[in-house]
Symmetry: D2
Subunit: 383 residues, 4 copies
């Protein structure tokens, strides 16, 4: 049984929409049945036709999509809606979709503001529908393995986390040229109050809390705009305290000239350490003062069910970003199918980012932007 999938946003020329569609196809859990791919009706139509959709299932707006799909017979109607618009068009369609009975997959950061996020949290709970937020990096099997190892006590009580997300692509005033990705990401009216901190800082933050199972309680942020004329932060570093007494350093930058998305996390506990980075995504380094560092690998026989469940190929055949993304879609599909069948989903299937991650991510943005402007060192992490 394939789930019927609709998409809001992601028309021709968009980047992340295509990624979502590949992710949805990889494990064959979904069938794309409808979409409102652009706020420009002609562009939406052209995009939908190119994707092979029937013309009457390509809509001019998200509202039209939700309203009309709702009227279709249950066996034709869309079941899950992917929302891949810029940040300022996250809340509206997500709320409306959930309230009208559709499950939602939403791109991060979750909303335009923390207030919207908390409102959305209520909507999710009330609606009873399932919600997935695409913090892709937690979809990597070796990131999942890291979480499981921390949980199992492999490195002891966590003391220190270093998490970083370096990019170089915004080293110049790219938004001044005709670059669609740069344009909306640096525009406060579409992106929100944060640039780098929202776009990639939230990924680093989510990775930190996901792997450790801890929560940030205080932050101290240095937030910068390096490129002349830019309106939102393109660089930042955050000192963080966590709820078990651990300490963390988070860095996210878009002006690290020459860097290309090598998101990386290192976690140190009382008896060992872990290191993972996207460049070498199928490897997890397990460290210790008293034993050789171990190179844990995707596809190996010794990894946990959480890693093997999220892997398709034997060891040595690298899986990458699209497969990590597909893991979110696949697990969300398994959870929806379980929901439909009235059965409990497996712990592995339920291990996808959701509404709580989204609320905390928006809180991260608001807290670090506020901290960046504050003269006080430590500020409480408010949600």
């Amino acid at each position: 049984m394939k789930l019927k999938l609709g998409m809001i946003g992601g028309g021709q020329g968009a980047f992340i929409g295509a990624v979502h569609r590949i992710a949805a196809r990889i494990d064959d859990d979904y069938e794309l049945v409808c979409g409102a791919f652009s706020s420009d009706p002609e562009k939406s139509k052209a995009s939908g036709i190119a994707l092979g959709l029937a013309a009457n299932r390509v809509y001019n707006s998200y509202k039209e999509l939700i309203e009309k799909e709702k009227l279709l017979p249950a066996d034709e109607r869309v079941q899950v809606i992917s929302i891949v618009t810029p940040n300022h068009v996250h809340f509206g369609p997500t709320k409306m979709a959930l309230e009208n009975g559709f499950h939602v997959i939403l791109d991060k950061p979750m909303t335009f503001s923390l207030a919207e996020a908390k409102e959305l949290e209520k909507v999710v709970k009330t609606s009873g529908k399932l919600f997935c937020l695409t913090h892709t990096y937690t979809g990597y099997p070796m990131v999942k393995e890291a979480k499981q190892l921390v949980k199992a006590g492999k490195i002891g009580k966590v003391r220190k986390i270093y998490v970083e997300y370096p990019q170089g692509w915004l080293s110049t005033y790219l938004e001044g040229s005709d670059q669609k990705q740069a344009a909306w990401r640096t525009d406060p009216s579409r992106s929100g109050i944060a640039g780098a901190m929202g776009d990639i800082g939230t990924h680093a933050f989510n990775l930190c809390e996901y792997v450790t199972g801890l929560q940030v309680t205080q932050v101290c942020a240095d937030i910068n705009i390096f490129v002349d004329g830019r309106k939102l932060d393109d660089d930042g570093a955050v000192l963080m305290k966590l709820n078990n007494g651990a300490s963390a350093v988070l860095t996210a930058t878009q002006i690290a000239n020459g860097e290309e998305n090598n998101v990386k996390i290192r976690v140190y506990g009382e008896t060992g350490g872990l290191e993972w980075e996207q460049w070498d995504a199928n490897t997890l380094k397990v460290k210790s003062n008293v034993r050789p560092t171990e190179i844990w690998r995707t596809g190996a026989g010794y990894v946990s069910s959480f890693a093997s469940h999220n892997t398709r190929t034997p060891g040595g055949h690298p899986e990458g970003y699209l497969e990590a993304f597909a893991n979110l879609y696949h697990n969300f599909a398994l959870s929806i199918k379980a929901d439909i069948e009235g059965k409990p989903a497996s712990p592995e299937a339920l291990d996808y980012p959701g509404i709580t991650d989204g609320v905390r991510g928006m809180a991260f943005i608001e807290n670090v932007i506020a901290s960046g402007k504050s003269e006080i060192k430590w500020t409480k992490f408010n949600v």
Copy 2:
């Protein structure tokens, strides 16, 4: 327009069939419409149903599939058939499919013997249908970049090639246990005259000829069986001479305990060198005596159209084995669509392994197995 895809082999429990199906889905060029997934009709049926096929399009044998599909109206009929059976069941269905007007994607090594391969070459030419052989590693963007750099003279006239394919999984008598993959690969009645040389040596050989654009002319092989009771080679090394005077060393082994498919190639010319390995598949090292080694990366702005055409994500988001495999499927689809439209396909689309690769791969197997038994050092590479 999606191409209608059928599959022969690849039923439940098989490894490579699932990989083919993912590869076919990633770029949305195909729709799976029929299959004969197993020589066991019940297993074939169950596999097809699980894949969401209509029961009347799941067949009991490849013959039935081809015969019955041929009778369907053109707009329903399968157009492309993937054949993912063990080696001894490659020739029959491929020949029949081609002769009945279907395009074919075939798993490597191409046939059971060189004689079959040469027979198949004639069938392909006569049929006028398109044929793709899944030498996956040439689907990686950075392998394609390597080929383009050699072609453009970046490293000068090629002198030396080192190509290696190390595996460890057959370090023990795995075929003695109930391991399906090990069982057929070590069985001469299903695999042919070679074990490691056929299964992975052919990949290394293909990579060597693909990247350099050269042809092997002489071989000197050391072929070994290390595991007691095994019937086919599990290890080998081949010294090779190429048609421009270059020299190569090819190694392929299944008893390198601890290794997991890190296929690697290094090519040295008069003015520079290249290095690529699957572990770090999105990187190509470009070397020189007089300049720093350069780290060329998938997704970067400076790579050729052959690399960028075969990449879906921005730099730093790793693509892997499944995307390399998808590149074969996608380029084959582009070529078929061009064929249907009566237009020429682009050079990038036409850059997929075909019948010539298959014939040379089978010649590789027969030449190196013969050389392994010979007391003469150099033997001519006969095709």
Copy 3:
């Protein structure tokens, strides 16, 4: 002509004394002629004899060494004194040695306090003698190359620096056992007000200012003690602002379980980036948004005179920590010999850390420890 070298501290069982002696021997610039190796006269004697010194040149205290050596004829008398005692015994012997006409090589951090450091700065200037502080990491050829590339504008105006020094060896209460290295480093009466920040944080700080040629102007520090019972910081992170508007993140920790001194620096400018780490010390990565990352290597023909001057072997034969240390000794020797001959030393020879590095290092300690206790975010870097 070999320079006559004396040593204060570094008796049997010490670690860094032996390193200094190897460093002094590698390039054959020095002859060890005397020493006061321990505050315990018997141990000092035994150490000196084991090192092949004449008994009358092994002294019971640094005072005795300086006083008695001063009385020797000029052609016998020690010329340079290495001081390798714990931090609280840096100032006294260094001041006395300089004031009595001896050149000094001193281990870092320079003194027990910033006040001492500033006092020592005056002594150095007044004495007219030469002074070298062993910030070893700036002795690596590829660190020197990094500095030269920044200076030459290779990466444009510097914007962001990440520098880190991770260790794991103090993850437990090692000072509670009989571990000499741990004991004095965690003892405020011997180490001063800082633990990790003084022992390794100063190295990271020095590396940052050395490579960029910039100066830190403000700091915001998170200073921690993770191990129960420990008296000094074993972990810290410092946000820093530099005098050209750049921003930096410095981390130094001794509780990163499994880490072993992989000091690392990344510098990003408007047009490129640089990356160096001790694990792969003979490599410097030169990055850019528009070109492949380049792997610059020790011993290559394209590196600057600052790198090649500090390298002994052809490319590919790794030089390491002891050679980096030897570079300090060698350049200091060249500078002293030039001084003796009344000639100017070469820029390459003069490129060793000195009194200014030492004063700034002590200022780093006092500023970050103060910042760690402050509720204000940014504090001015006072010297």
Copy 4:
């Protein structure tokens, strides 16, 4: 007590002589007391004076050195002679030195021919003096660890070895320019019958036999000259069989454009594998099909006495080529001192390459050069 060291060859402009002298100094076991540094008396004198030797201990020829030193009183006389001349001047001075009562350290390859090597073996045995051959790479602590792990059964019975030594520096006709190193290495009258095979192939061969404890019994070689006008091989690959049934592939080349001495060995046994390469010399990878690859590191607490005995610094402070070389000198010194004291040397001290390595290395050269010309595949490894 320092041993009195003399040197034959290694005058100004030579490369390896300076390396030997650094190696001899690092652990302070030797005092250079005399030398005959060049066949040109003036150059010899100038070199000796520059090294600080007394003029009367700088000789015009090795014969003069040996004859005159022999006449000196025992407490002044040289005890150990380092011979660092080109290959054709190895046998003469070594034989004469040994026969006159001096211990000898000799650069590799041992002699000009196998016949000389076997003659020298007799001389060593008759003389009763100690002999060390500088196969530097076996001096690395992690290479020693590899040998110990094989010996202890960590990877089971050895099946397959890959050993490689790639260089690029002779990619052009460098001997046509004024390049001293290239000139003698490519000159049959000074280098012998082999170029690359003698200069670096012997290192790879020695590494193979050292780490595995096995002996090569048969070879099949592909020997090439790629550069026009060159007189000796600049490239080769050798298939080898070992005395326990294992199989090996050895490659050595000087035309791998862009490569810089990254000698590497991989050994696979029935239950695991090992990998070491010079680029990352302080790491040994320990592999297994059933456990994560382990990263064993120099300076760690878990390594054997053979590794820790040959290490000077704590983990993470890299030691390199000069320290590996120093390990040969140090262990040879310990063995000589034990000999002088009439005590047995420790197993760790005795672990340096000697006459047997030298004879087998010369046999390697003669066997592979002969095999390269033979039409028979496998030829017995004759000694």
